[in-house]
């Protein structure tokens, strides 16, 4: 009896402490009788000790640098898009290129086309094998119906698959049983003409529930551009639905879908004519993004469960010089169970990608990769070496892809809980990044090189010497997958109303892509021959058929080091505060005659503070401040304050006023334009008003 009680105490403690620790509503190490039995918290907890994978069970015990952004933080902050919500995560790099486009990553250098961060909605991946980009601007998820956003800084390769070297962002939406009723909000302000959300949810008999939602956004251009007038308007319409079924306690299922239609203005720079030079221009991008996902979960017993998930993603984009079409189909099976002190997870996955691209002046495919298949398996075991004190986790994921063949991603972790309120963890993991098609297959036209820059011989004839030769970023099949090994260590402590989360890492990546210039000197010899024969016209004509390749090669090494500190304080229910500091260094080790493809040697520091205060009845103030100090983006350091005041003036109605980027002034957040064809704009302070109704 006593023994059962002791065990119960431990379980309850672990359960409540773990789940809630990283939320701002910290449950600290307190006597059990003081534990938070708030209904909201209870409803958020899993009954299973095993939980569906692609989900972090307990943030406190997790042997990786995880941060959970709670639904309270998302709604209190007044964020109007997913990237804005991600600004609330300490240690995440969230830089805005213009009013539509974002560069987001952790533990590395963010890029508009960053291939190393895996983004998922309810476990559905949004990775595109062509550009390795996430289209943040068209990723529509109703923020008011998000349960939480789990962010893993660092390698998430094992459970989540390839291309998760820098981190994983998993957006988990609410079960529709928790979103019954009507929700509506309307926002307008200095950068948003209008942003309207509407949702209706209800029961389906006593076996399920559903919600329908729609979203319309009309956004303004930025105030100030760098070389062109800003054109970054947004016109977006989105609709979605989610059904949840619970025929009985053992089985549950969900089906959800979303379609988003966007028209986005953008300033580009690209080679579009015979001058072979980059030309700046303004264009509209029309995109249609659709997704459907279905999942069946089965509780086999109290200590085993299984999950089957299938999803479909379709994205098409159309702009004057680029037509793209991408579809993917995923199927995942996972099973988790406990046997004695061993917790075992295993799973199988298959992904089919269909990529079609109209020939364009930018991108030319070498062909052969219109469809890509990917399949794999994973197994992970967690064993208690000392019950409730020391756990070892060992696992491996093996996956096959059509570009680089079989890849394996093993890991080993140790979790030690010297006391109930302290966790020390360490981990060694290997992670793989499969090249995108741009790197592996395509030729991307880039700013032309002048003859006298690349040819050892000059002719003295300006028409020839100053001629810009067509230049390609040449993706090729010699490109290998990038492999990185990461050593991580972390410590978590809760004491009274305080919580501390420390993590540090050292990651070494090899076979990283770099660029080497192949001037192909021989191609100029006939031209010099023609010149010597006095045939200038013919020489000029031949010159137009020459080209220079910026070949992608997999011979660089990158070392990244850094760490994160997050201190949370919640002295009472009506006040909490968080202070964070992140430090990251990024260093290339390049072979001779090569230069970096993504990012360059740099050091980034971020100081972060946020607070959520209930000032007096029905009034709430949410503030966050970010001090961004980095030489990785070719821009000045900046400090931005976001402030939101919310007033619930009626039991169904509330109003908010939000100030974004305050005190930062007109600033540029990202200027690595060599890596992107987007021309950034100045990011300005903005004010938004919002009215919210719930029935």
């Amino acid at each position: 009896m006593k023994c059962i009680k002791g065990k119960t105490l431990k379980i309850v403690n672990r359960l409540l402490l773990g789940t809630l620790l990283v939320s701002p509503y910290v449950i600290a190490e307190e006597p059990l009788s003081d534990l938070d039995l708030d209904l909201d918290s209870l409803m958020a907890m899993d009954v299973q000790v095993t939980s569906a994978m692609k989900r972090a069970q307990s943030a406190f015990d997790t042997a990786s640098s995880i941060y959970v952004l709670t639904k309270e933080q998302i709604t209190h902050s007044g964020a109007t898009s997913i990237p804005e919500a991600l600004k609330l995560v300490p240690g995440l790099v969230v830089r805005q290129l213009d009013n539509n486009q974002w560069a987001i990553t952790s533990r590395g250098v963010a890029s508009r086309f960053s291939a190393k961060l895996l983004v998922m909605i309810d476990g559905q991946s949004f990775y595109t094998p062509k550009f390795a980009a996430v289209y943040w601007e068209t990723l529509n998820v109703p923020l008011y119906d998000i349960e939480r956003i789990e962010v893993i800084r660092g390698q998430g390769g094992l459970l989540w698959g390839s291309n998760a070297n820098n981190g994983v962002i998993n957006i988990i939406t609410k079960n529709s049983i928790d979103t019954r009723g009507v929700y509506a909000d309307v926002s307008s302000g200095s950068q948003i003409n209008h942003d309207v959300n509407l949702r209706y949810g209800s029961d389906i008999g006593n076996k399920g529930s559903f919600r329908l939602y729609g979203h319309v956004r009309d956004g303004d251009e930025s105030d100030k551009g760098i070389s062109l007038e800003p054109a970054d308007f947004t016109e977006q319409q989105s609709a979605g639905v989610r059904f949840d079924f619970t025929p009985n306690d053992e089985w549950s299922g969900l089906i959800q879908g979303n379609i988003t239609q966007s028209s986005l203005g953008q300033n580009f720079r690209g080679v579009i004519d015979e001058t072979n030079r980059n030309i700046s221009f303004t264009d509209d991008l029309d995109r249609t993004d659709s997704r459907v996902m279905a999942r069946i979960e089965n509780r086999i017993s109290a200590n085993a469960n299984q999950m089957l998930q299938t999803s479909w993603l379709k994205q098409s984009g159309s702009q004057t010089f680029l037509q793209e079409h991408f579809e993917s189909f995923d199927i995942d099976y996972q099973m988790n169970f406990l046997y004695n002190d061993l917790k075992l997870d295993w799973g199988l996955n298959y992904r089919y990608n269909d990529i079609s691209f109209a020939e364009s002046s930018f991108v030319r495919s070498d062909g052969g990769y219109n469809t890509l298949h990917q399949y794999g398996a994973l197994i992970q075991g967690q064993y208690s070496l000392i019950a409730d004190e020391l756990d070892i986790i060992v696992g491996a994921k093996v996956e096959h892809n059509d570009l680089t063949g079989w890849e394996n991603q093993p890991l080993a972790r140790l979790v030690w809980k010297p006391q109930k309120n302290q966790v020390i963890w360490t981990s060694i993991s290997k992670s793989v990044r499969v090249p995108s098609l741009i790197e592996f297959n395509d030729d991307f036209t880039i700013d032309g090189q002048r003859v006298d820059e690349v040819s050892p011989i000059t002719t003295g004839i300006n028409a020839i010497d100053k001629y810009y030769i067509r230049t390609y970023l040449n993706g090729n099949e010699n490109v290998k997958s990038e492999k990185s090994v990461s050593y991580e260590v972390g410590y978590r402590l809760t004491q009274g109303s305080w919580a501390l989360d420390l993590s540090a890492y050292h990651t070494k990546a090899k076979d990283v892509i770099a660029i080497t210039v192949d001037s192909n000197i021989e191609q100029f010899l006939p031209i010099f021959g023609l010149l010597q024969a006095g045939q200038l016209d013919l020489a000029m004509q031949s010159l137009t058929t020459t080209s220079i390749n910026f070949d992608i090669v997999s011979n660089a090494q990158v070392t990244t080091n850094g760490g994160d500190i997050i201190l949370t304080w919640q002295p009472s229910d009506i006040f909490n505060a968080e202070l964070g500091y992140s430090y990251n260094t990024f260093n290339y080790d390049l072979a001779e005659n090569t230069f970096p493809a993504i990012g360059y040697d740099s050091k980034s520091r971020q100081l972060f503070a946020k607070t959520d205060i209930e000032l007096f009845d029905n009034h709430r103030l949410f503030a966050s401040i970010r001090v961004e100090n980095s030489n990785a983006y070719d821009v000045d350091n900046y400090t931005a304050l976001d402030l939101t005041w919310q007033w619930a003036f009626h039991q169904n109605w509330s109003a908010a006023i939000m100030g974004k980027n305050l005190f930062a002034g007109s600033h540029i957040e990202y200027s690595n334009t060599g890596e992107t064809f987007t021309l950034p704009n100045y990011i300005d302070e903005s004010v938004t008003f919002k009215l919210i109704a719930k029935f």
Partner: protein, 176 residues
């Protein structure tokens, strides 16, 4: 007798070890359900105040559940009354001291086979499929591994209990 017990334990110990995690998993579920029951009590009003009580009593015929609930709910209060937890047998006399009665799946048969008078002023909660038609007012169910509940406000009213709309809103309302 003790010796027999010890021998028996020794023999079954390996088996118990295999079962041990299973016990843990059930503990988790019952710890959470105890928390829900606490909230049901907190946000409800027992309108029949003819019997003055000095304790708020949570009952169940399931001893394992009561063991867990007593840990989770120790030193908690409902309407300024301290909560006590009791393992009861399903008799009118035993149940007369309860404000909340939880019938677990293991004790459902006891409940179905019991011959009880009209249970007034008691919130009766279950976790099995048709529990509300079997005399309960509230029933827990699981959706994607999380606890949710069905509630019949009519039946609660009939038992002279009023539940706050704050909680009703979170449940699935059953009209009978």
């Amino acid at each position: 007798m003790q010796k027999i017990k010890r021998v028996f334990l020794g023999l079954t110990l390996p088996l118990l070890l295999i079962q041990s995690q299973s016990v843990n998993a059930i503990d988790t579920e019952y710890a959470l359900k105890a928390g829900f029951l606490f909230n049901f009590a907190r946000y409800s009003e027992w309108t029949d105040t003819s019997n003055a009580v000095d304790h708020f009593v949570l009952c169940s015929p399931d001893r394992d559940f009561i063991d867990i609930a007593s840990t989770v709910l120790s030193n908690r209060k409902v309407n300024n009354l301290p909560i006590s937890t009791k393992t009861v047998s399903l008799t009118d006399a035993d149940l007369s001291q309860c404000q909340v009665l939880f019938i677990t799946s293991d004790t459902l048969n006891q409940w179905l086979n019991s011959t009880l008078g009209k249970l007034n002023n008691i919130m009766i909660v279950g976790e099995t499929e048709d529990f509300i038609t079997q005399g309960g007012q509230i029933r827990f169910f699981l959706s994607s591994g999380k606890i949710r509940f069905e509630v019949s406000p009519e039946k609660l009213t009939a038992a002279q209990i009023t539940m706050s709309s704050k909680v009703l809103r979170l449940g699935r309302v059953v009209e009978l």
